[in-house]
């Protein structure tokens, strides 16, 4: 198992049109933020299947970020709304399996909000660092254990 004082690892699912572009903008603007979030691109936050999040935790992530277009701005009309509707259930599921729901964050980041993306990453990283490493065995419970590679 990994050492407790290691840097938190966070998996970030970003929608191609708003949040991924926003993250790119943070780059072009050279805004500095913690290196803890590892970004995975999806076309729409609506693609983010709850099992992706569970999988991420099972695979050893200490936090998960899902970012999409602001409500009403979805490139696919309302995919982000569908993502939003899944959150409560997902949070309850995580809690049910002993994973602190604060480790999971859904955020709206538009293509022009590079600074916001950086801020979100900073916040989440601090939250997760405060919560300490997410030890699947302890926190993840059997559900996570099942999917553990």
């Amino acid at each position: 198992m990994s050492t407790p004082e290691r840097e938190p690892r966070i998996v970030g699912f970003l929608c191609n049109w708003c949040s991924y572009t926003g993250a790119d903008l943070a780059g072009t603007a050279r805004i500095k933020y913690p290196p803890n979030v590892r970004v995975i691109r999806v076309m729409c936050s609506g693609r983010v299947d709850p099992t992706f999040v569970v999988k991420a935790f099972a695979a050893g992530a200490d936090g998960v970020l899902v970012a999409g277009c602001h409500p009403g701005d979805c490139h696919y009309i309302d995919g982000n709304h569908k993502t939003f509707r899944r959150v409560p259930l997902l949070s309850r599921f995580l809690e049910g399996h002993g994973i602190d729901p604060r480790r999971f964050r859904l955020a709206w980041v538009s293509a022009s909000e590079g600074d916001r993306f950086a801020a979100v990453v900073k916040e989440l990283t601090e939250t997760v660092r405060a919560l300490g490493p997410c030890r699947v065995g302890a926190e993840g419970g059997e559900a996570a254990a099942e999917v553990t590679p």
Partner: protein, 660 residues
């Protein structure tokens, strides 16, 4: 799995000069990549996007029998097409190429070198793992409807429409005002050449009105947009103008005889127009519109003078709004700007002090066809002895608009020149910085210096009518620090012109939503790439041009108009375009027929096959958002290129170091 684990992945790590290599230890990333499962070879190179860089990939595909390629460099939004093409030239399907964004998402945003190197490694590991599960896909070609929708009839929209129409293609030009012409039609002269705005614009307006390939709908607005690049369906609301465009011959009797008046929008409220009116003589179309708010018939049911006197019987009080549907292949937004409302900036007392004008008001004030016939006079009728031009009103001001409006310095110089030409007035410019960056602009500034215009370097602090001495009695006083002298001055003038800035249209947000594009913090539309794709947007087939993208002067707006037209015409020239292949597909075997996806799909691309009791995706309509795949309870839907296998692999990949 077996087929993918046999994959031979080639990994290419780009230095991007020092952009990446300056922060990420590329050699070390390469070292670590060599140990990753399925990796056949790893190379790092100065500029992967350069020709030699691309050739490198091609050669290796052939020589080393690579069947997967990972390029770790900049954002895929930047170079995915480049590297897909490179692979395809070497006979490898472009969808078997995966990028890792180690520049925008890593080297540019990370402080610590080691951390950056670790993050880059993780991103590469994710890309490698994912790549092994990628499958070849074929892009689809869809036909492009040859018609184009141009929204906004200012100089930008006019230019775009003409460029496209002249090539023989159909253009629908939709304008919300009663006439085309936009802001430019209201200007007097244009800087720095001082040629008259109307003289150069009206001929173009007339051509639009007469052009066989242009369908001009003024007093109209786009209400709904559906479909996608190549075939959009657009619903336009043609507001009731209470005059039938077909029968009206523009004789003008109606507005001559109409007994009721309202402030003229075109004259910035400095003059009145009738309740039934054509905004200005050269308007296109020359068809009047009735303003129900001012028309007494709509209030009392009496009058109808216009109807009685209309020789062609074109006046129709019963007319209703009409919704018209059109199909187009491309859309160009030329919706322009709105000028800053000076009343928001209390210190200059606009709206309280009669002799404080906005730029647009002054344009009319010195225009020969304007309310004063081009004579610059005070409300009292006298000629001003001194005039103050205040720069940066609502611009470079965090309380209102942080941006510089780019045109104010120059039109302020134009005003100063016109004042010198038409009056004996002393003219003061109060500026923070003079920004004269265009062709011939600095020379124009020089010319104004020679014309003895006074330049005071300092933002005017306030305008007041409170006199502290006899010289100030009955005049306006501008209080300002002359920052070059280092003294505060009270400068008495008779007229103040506020160089109001350019801001986004008040409804830019809604419009952006309607056309599925993005707006920036400043409220203006965002282009696809600030340098390399200035008129394209995140949505294929939707282009932007002119001041709706950001403050612009006439030359820049017209240049963008032609650029957008060219972009549209390239798609039309081919007749068809390639669209995303990454669509969803239903596995009939596993589909339980619950129809959940049918309702979820934002494009109603999924239909239910009653006989077989399963759902199926219509490839032509699917845009590949993947929402259905995420929601399918029986996991029967695969989002191509983003399927569970690929996603899971990437998740494990980016977390490769967990158990390290």
């Amino acid at each position: 799995m077996s087929e993918s684990s046999a994959a031979r992945v080639g990994v290419y790590i780009c230095h991007c000069g020092t952009n990446i290599a300056g922060k990420v230890d590329v050699e070390q990333v390469a070292e670590r990549a060599r140990t990753m499962e399925g990796v056949a070879l790893v190379k790092d190179y100065k500029f992967m996007c350069s020709d030699p860089g691309q050739d490198l990939i091609g050669e290796d595909i052939a020589r080393e029998k690579l069947d997967r390629v990972v390029v770790a460099s900049c954002s895929p939004l930047m170079h995915e097409p480049t590297f897909r093409a490179a692979c395809e030239r070497a006979g490898l399907n472009g969808y078997l190429m995966q990028m890792a964004n180690i520049r925008e998402h890593c080297s540019w945003v990370t402080v610590d070198k080691e951390a950056a190197t670790d993050k880059a490694t993780a991103l590469v590991a994710g890309a490698v793992a994912r790549s092994r599960h990628l499958r070849p896909l074929q892009r689809r070609r869809v036909d492009v409807n040859p018609a184009t929708l141009v929204v906004g009839g200012g100089v930008t929209g006019i230019q775009t429409a003409l460029d496209i129409a002249d090539s023989g293609r159909r253009v629908y030009l939709v304008e919300r005002d009663p006439t085309i012409g936009g802001h430019m039609a209201r200007f007097d002269k244009t800087f720095p050449t001082l040629d008259c705005a109307a003289c150069i614009l009206t001929p173009k307006m007339v051509r639009v009105g007469q052009h066989e390939n242009i369908t001009l709908w003024t007093w109209s607005e786009v209400e709904r947009v559906s479909g996608y690049v190549g075939s959009f369906r657009v619903t336009v609301r043609r507001r009731a103008r209470y005059v039938d465009e077909a029968t009206c011959n523009g004789c003008g009797v109606c507005q001559e005889k109409c007994p009721y008046k309202a402030p003229s929008e075109f004259e910035s409220g400095l003059a009145k127009r009738k309740a039934i009116y054509v905004p200005f003589p050269q308007a296109v179309p020359k068809v009047p519109v009735i303003d129900p708010a001012a028309c007494v018939y709509f209030k009392t049911g009496k009058c109808k003078a216009c109807q009685k006197l209309c020789p062609t019987g074109a006046v129709d009080f019963e007319q209703q709004d009409r919704l018209v549907e059109i199909d187009v292949g491309n859309i160009v937004l030329c919706t322009g700007f709105s000028s800053f409302d000076a009343a928001r900036l209390g210190a200059y007392r606009y709206g309280e002090l009669a002799e404080v004008y906005t730029a647009l008001e002054f344009e009319r004030l010195c225009n020969a066809s304007g309310p004063t016939g081009g004579e610059i006079r005070l409300k009292s009728g006298e000629e001003p002895r001194a005039v103050g031009i205040v720069h940066c009103v609502g611009s470079r001001d965090r309380r209102f608009n942080e941006h510089c409006s780019r045109v104010c310095c120059m039109y302020a110089l134009k005003f100063a020149h016109l004042l010198k030409e038409k009056t004996r007035a002393e003219v003061y410019n109060f500026y923070i910085d003079m920004r004269c960056f265009g062709k011939g602009y600095e020379q124009f500034y020089g010319r104004l210096l020679d014309e003895d215009v006074r330049f005071v370097r300092g933002r005017a602090a306030s305008v007041t009518d409170h006199a502290m001495n006899e010289g100030e009695r009955g005049r306006l006083v501008i209080r300002v620090e002359d920052t070059l002298v280092g003294q505060t001055r009270r400068i008495p003038v008779d007229m103040v012109i506020l160089a109001t800035g350019l801001e986004a249209q008040r409804d830019a947000d809604e419009v952006a939503r309607r056309f599925n594009i993005n707006v920036g913090k400043d409220g203006f539309f965002i282009e696809k790439h600030p340098k390399l794709a200035p008129v394209a947007t995140a949505t294929d087939g939707v282009f932007i041009a002119g001041a709706c993208q950001g403050p612009k002067d006439i030359p820049d707006s017209v240049a963008q108009a032609s650029a957008a037209a060219a972009q549209v015409l390239t798609t039309l020239a081919r007749g068809s375009i390639e669209v995303e292949a990454a669509t969803s597909v239903v596995d009939a075997e596993r589909c339980s027929g619950c129809r959940l996806c049918n309702t979820l799909c934002p494009y109603s691309a999924i239909t239910f096959d009653a006989e077989r009791g399963v759902s199926a995706v219509n490839d032509a309509l699917c845009k590949g958002c993947g929402t259905c795949a995420a929601a399918c309870p029986s996991g029967a839907i695969e989002a191509r290129h983003f399927n569970d296998e690929q996603m899971f692999a990437e998740i494990e990949g980016v977390l490769h170091d967990v158990h390290a």
